[in-house]
């Protein structure tokens, strides 16, 4: 069979300037950060990012100048404050933002996932989102005459996903899902192609007895790459926790443009690869402590 296993460099190479992408995860949880770093390294530009609530994933890309448009209901570092690159780009009118509510943009993915071209919602009535988002329209229920706001379906050309396991055919297994996995599932269903990084590539025997943990079947997967701790500094499901210390460093560094460029130089451009990144953020000794349930000192 044709294995889909590639290097990190090869995995994101097909994403060209101007592509429309999504990144699985929710807020600062479970982001595909190793893939995002590589997108930055290959200096992709003018991305449109579709998301529900995004975190450092989008903020990194914006800070690296890779993004021209974001459709989302929020971008936040959660406990670590505002997403500063997002904030700065919005204030300087450097990116286009299409405002949505959380459920309504979820529904845009849901629409695409079931092959619909639009979705009706009631959640935006009375909201200034209706004034500033030019992509909205209207639709009327043919049975009740009720009026809805209509939104276009959201179908990313590429979704970047980091997950615990995949096989070489691109089937992805996630035994460590949290309650937020539903967001990832609908985005994956809505996507045309999926680029997957995983903690570990598993063999067929393993896969055949872990089918109950399937996150997505392999046919839309175009690349599989093994990058342990590929969500760092995000946590990954219930498998490992976010690196709070690194997030604080990130939040501090992103407060102004110069220091953020230094951050990118240190952690993205200036490392030889993902192993170099893991080394620079503290190496194995630091990373092992992030594992779920770890009580060691």
């Amino acid at each position: 069979m044709g294995s889909k296993v590639v290097s990190l460099v090869e995995a994101v190479r097909p994403i060209k300037d101007g592509a429309t992408i999504a990144m699985a995860g929710f807020g600062i949880g479970s982001g595909p950060i190793a893939l995002v770093h590589q997108l930055i390294r290959q200096r992709t530009k003018n991305l449109t990012v579709l998301g529900i609530i995004q975190g450092n994933d989008v903020d990194l890309l914006i800070g690296a100048g890779a993004v021209s448009r974001v459709d989302a209901s929020g971008v936040t570092l959660e406990d670590f404050g505002l997403a500063q690159n997002f904030r700065r780009a919005a204030q300087n009118d450097e990116i286009v933002i299409r405002e949505y509510s959380e459920a309504s943009i979820y529904d845009r993915f849901l629409a695409a996932s079931v092959g619909l071209t639009f979705w009706p919602t009631r959640g935006l009535f009375g909201n200034d989102i209706m004034k500033v988002n030019p992509d909205l329209s209207e639709v009327t229920c043919p049975f009740t005459g009720e009026r809805y706001v209509a939104m276009p379906a959201a179908s990313p050309e590429w979704t970047l996903l980091h997950a615990p396991f995949a096989d070489e055919n691109g089937n992805v297994y996630h035994p460590y899902r949290t309650d937020f996995a539903g967001f990832t599932e609908v985005i994956l269903r809505a996507s045309k192609q999926v680029i997957v990084s995983v903690e570990q590539i598993v063999d067929r025997t393993w896969a055949m007895s872990h089918h109950r943990d399937t996150l997505i079947a392999g046919w839309k997967t175009v690349a599989v790459v093994e990058v342990p701790f590929g969500s760092h500094p995000c946590g990954l499901g219930t498998l490992y926790s976010p690196d709070a210390e690194h997030f604080r460093e990130y939040a501090q560094a992103s407060r102004d443009r110069e220091s953020f460029l230094n951050y990118l130089e240190t952690y993205v451009y200036g490392v030889r690869d993902h192993w170099g990144y893991l080394e620079r953020v503290g190496g194995m000794q630091r990373l092992m402590k992030l594992r779920s349930g770890s009580a060691g000192a």
């Binding site: 959660e78 997403a83 204030q91 009118d93 509510s101 959640g123 009375g126 909201n127 989102i129 309650d179």
Partner: protein, 277 residues
């Protein structure tokens, strides 16, 4: 609400306890109350910690069948399993609870109108109860871009009612929010209906100074009660618009000994929810 010591120092209860008790008394049995994910800091205390304590208190007093939806997913959690107001995958997954539901369940509950009430905060609230978490200043070139509307549109459009918890200052209590991220009464009577909204909207605004509701005739914010020791002058000083003030402004009813005992010994013994941790 940096000055909440004001109450604690003179009273036998904290501001957070007063707010929790005030909220708890407004909940009915069999209702479903929703809190988002706790993201830490003072906002976490306001829109997750105090609400969870209030719902837990109501369940232990007059509303035993009230359902608490923590992060939406976690139904009636074992509160002792909540270790802090910033949680991520591994810690949230470990919280024991009566039931869990998926994100698809949550959004479909929200869209079906099955949530009775929620809690929110923002950088600004205005005299019509609109709130703003999107931008300060002009939308196209804002002086501050914030996180965005997230689920607030649904809180104010599809929930049965909304409680707003805010720090009370002129900067936050403005005549007109710069962006309506959650729609209150918009610009006055009839505006919600005209916009297509069929239910819900802000019920109260709770601050360190008092509790505020909305005058049915004008839809404008009104003083409902002042916390013990607070004055109308203080409130007016910290509010950027004219509040409706009824002839009689009562004092917010303080917690009873029984309520305090429940909060301190059963519901939040380690102060995780009510900000004493």
């Amino acid at each position: 609400m940096a000055s909440h010591d004001h109450i604690a120092s003179r009273n036998r209860y904290s501001l957070e306890e007063l707010l929790a008790v005030t909220l708890a008394r407004d909940f009915h049995d069999r209702e479903r109350g929703f809190t988002g994910m706790a993201t830490g800091g003072r906002t976490g205390v306001l829109i997750v910690g105090i609400p969870l304590a209030a719902m837990a208190l109501a369940r232990r007093t007059h509303a035993p069948n009230l359902s608490m939806l923590y992060t939406g997913h976690i139904i009636n959690p074992a509160l002792e399993d909540i270790k802090g107001l910033f949680e991520s995958g591994p810690t949230l997954a470990a919280v024991r609870c009566e039931a869990r539901q998926s994100s698809a369940d949550i959004f479909s509950m929200v869209e079906r109108g099955e949530i009775d009430f929620g809690f929110s905060s923002g950088a600004q609230v205005d005299q019509y109860g609109n709130i703003n978490t999107t931008v300060i200043g002009n939308y196209r070139r804002p002086s501050l871009r914030m996180l965005g509307a997230v689920l607030l549109p649904e809180h104010f459009a599809l929930f049965g009612r909304e409680y707003i918890l805010m720090e009370h200052s002129r900067r936050r209590f403005v005549p007109r929010v710069d962006f309506i991220s959650g729609a209150g009464y918009i610009d006055g009577p009839g505006a919600r209906e005209k916009a297509g909204l069929r239910r819900g909207g802000p019920r109260w605004v709770l601050t360190e100074l008092g509790v505020f509701d909305f005058d049915p005739a004008t839809c404008r914010m009104r003083v409902k009660s002042l916390h013990p020791g607070r004055t109308l002058a203080e409130v007016r000083d910290q509010t950027g618009f004219e509040l409706i003030v009824p002839p009689q402004v009562p004092e917010t009813i303080p917690p009873t000994d029984e309520e305090l005992a429940l909060l301190r010994h059963e519901i939040d013994p380690h102060g995780v929810l009510l900000g004493r941790a």
